[in-house]
């Protein structure tokens, strides 16, 4: 199956599940999926949302300095995350908590940077999930380079670069498109168009749908309903297959919506209407799959009850983890600045240690 370039004029998007939870067919994207898998996706989304809500609450309670919520983007993240293999490699932005979940990253390790104890607290290579990148767009080049390396190794893996609608304007993203196309690198550019870059609507970034950007660089782009976890799964799977088999990069634009604030520091009432929000709440990705499960009778009450319990447990675990998360020692400032050492850092570390000690000795 090949992801097809959508025509320049078309703004249709791939959908396999209507907002009412009805399964629909798409001429190019089919999806065989078992009830168990459907429940699995539902579980992923519910747990992810719960984790996200918990993190937001922890920020309110002062346990985190900041939290960028993924509320509303669960389908885009779980659908794409579940489309990948272990050997694939993901380069996230700072909002891919759902993708991290799919990769098997311990959710609590995502919190460190927002608590201010580190700048990224997980080993990128244990789950093939790179650290969050805050400088908008920079990671798309890392993903492309990594993918060039995959191709050099003759390995069969897809590299996925997540980025936002706002990020699409950054020069680095354009350059990554150029490099990926020229080197035929196995990278899926996965743009979550959540309609907003902080306070700026997507029209401030582009006057045409973003998936079309790929065409101009010579590779296919496709827009998928980002609130439809099945469509996202199918489209990302196809895209990943395509790049893994040496057909070069693919751009997937997941058309979704950031239902929460940009981060806990943001006040979205300044720039968007509650009508808009309501409109999108009707398209809620979790509700949609729930409607499907219910209309098809694929999950019983017990499933939902268990899931609620599991959510509660995970929330508890996260709360406990954050409250016991130790502050780093001051000397951590000097750790890992260099891998092979640096005389000045050594000198400053020693100076710092002596200075800190002078206080402890009750100077």
């Amino acid at each position: 199956m090949t992801v097809e370039t959508t025509t320049a004029a078309g703004t249709t998007m791939v959908q396999l599940l209507t907002p009412e939870g009805e399964r629909v067919e798409h001429p190019e994207y089919s999806l065989e999926i078992t009830p168990g898998e459907l429940r699995g996706l539902y579980r992923d989304m519910v747990l992810t949302r719960r984790f996200d809500a918990e993190a937001t609450a922890l920020q309110r309670q002062g346990e985190l300095a900041l939290w960028p919520s993924l509320l509303g983007q669960e389908a885009a993240q779980i659908g794409s995350g579940r489309a990948l293999r272990d050997s694939d490699y993901v380069f996230p932005t700072y909002r891919e908590h759902g993708v991290a979940w799919c990769r098997g990253v311990d959710p609590t390790s995502l919190l460190g940077m927002f608590r201010g104890v580190n700048h990224g607290g997980w080993d990128p290579n244990s789950n093939n999930f790179h650290l969050y990148t805050i400088v908008i767009g920079a990671q798309t080049l890392h993903a492309t380079g990594y993918a060039m390396g995959v191709a050099m190794d003759g390995a069969e893996a897809a590299v996925v670069a997540y980025f936002g609608d706002g990020a699409s304007s950054q020069g680095d993203v354009g350059e990554s498109f150029t490099y990926a196309a020229v080197y035929n690198a196995p990278v899926v550019f996965f743009c979550q168009n959540n309609q907003w870059a902080i306070s700026e609507p997507t029209e401030r970034q582009s006057r045409v749908p973003l998936y079309q950007r790929a065409q101009g660089y010579g590779f296919p782009g496709v827009r998928v309903d980002g609130n439809d976890v099945l469509a996202v799964l199918a489209v990302t799977r196809a895209a990943a297959d395509q790049v893994r088999t040496g057909q070069g990069p693919v751009l997937v634009e997941a058309y979704t919506y950031r239902m929460g604030a940009h981060t806990t520091s943001d006040d979205p009432t300044r720039y968007r209407t509650s009508e808009e929000l309501k409109e999108w709440e009707a398209k809620d990705p979790i509700l949609r799959l729930r409607r499907h499960l219910d209309r098809e009778g694929l999950a019983d009450e017990e499933f939902y009850t268990r899931l609620d319990e599991e959510s509660d447990r995970m929330a508890r675990r996260v709360r406990e983890a954050i409250r016991t998360m130790p502050d780093p020692d001051g000397t951590a400032i000097f750790d890992h600045v260099y891998a092979d050492g640096h005389a000045l850092v050594d000198e400053e570390r020693a100076h710092y240690a002596a200075y800190a000690a002078s206080f402890e000795e009750g100077n």
């Binding site: 940077m113 201010g116 104890v117 304007s169 020069g171 001051g330 951590a332 800190a356």
Partner: protein, 325 residues
Amino acid sequence: MAQAMALAKALNLSLRTALDNDPKVLVMGEDVGKLGGVFRVTDGLQKDFGERRVLDTPLAESGIIGTAIGLALRGYRPVTEIQFDGFVFPAYDQIVTQLAKLHARALGMVRLPVVIRIPYGGGIGAVEHHSESPEALFAHVAGLKIVTPSNPSDAYWMLQQAIECDDPVIFFEPKARYWEKGEVDPEGIPGPLHAARVVREGSDLTLAAYGPMVRTALQAALAAEEEGRSLEVVDLRSISPIDFDTLTASVKKTGRLVIAHEAPVFFGAGAEVAARITERCFYHLEAPVLRVGGYHAPYPPARLEEEYLPGLDRILDSVDRALAY
């Protein structure tokens, strides 16, 4: 006429005044419109001056500066905003190879009155890239002017002057001080943009600082006073050029200099100050110029920033060391 207001508010008022006074002044950057900027410095400006004067730009900093250059060539005076210190680097090439050099390249035939506002510095508990002090990375580059206010009145006036200046000016705003209040008199008469200011007189040692560190320096002077030491505090205000005359006069009087900044010490502003003041005051210095600043490490996670930033204690420690010579 003087009013007490927060530093962020003084900046807002200054932008408002500039937009009012000169139809060529534009405000542009990410989220400067409806949101009023993430720090609300541009609050209400788009509402009052329209989308033509106050532009929400695409999320691309090289584009912000690059198009501002074009607008300046067309006769506009763009006041650009970079959302945080750590996000100025995508625009670095446009700033150092184009904005800084175009006036010289054109043998003076074009002017580049572009202001780049950058909230900078730490101490606000933020995530990575939101707490840096990159002024040294610009000061080395000829063609740029660099200033940083430490209080609301300077914020108001220095921004007015930066906008009026026909050269590119990087205007570093001490974000940790945005909410501190002070008197602003919009009908006052400002001093020269690039003059340092003695903000506290003293006789034993000169303590130089700028931007967010000026308050800390003043606190250090108070603390030192309790121990019977008289510190003269100089607010540099301008990083390019640096007002070495004012500093020299102070050091010739006190015989000692400590310079504090948040930026890493290595290759920081303190190095330039130390080198030049040592040359100018060689026979007056009783001690080497001591520098207090950030370490040679990436700005750390928030829970470590108190350890990283040169606070009261570290300044006093350096003061003690300098006085011990």
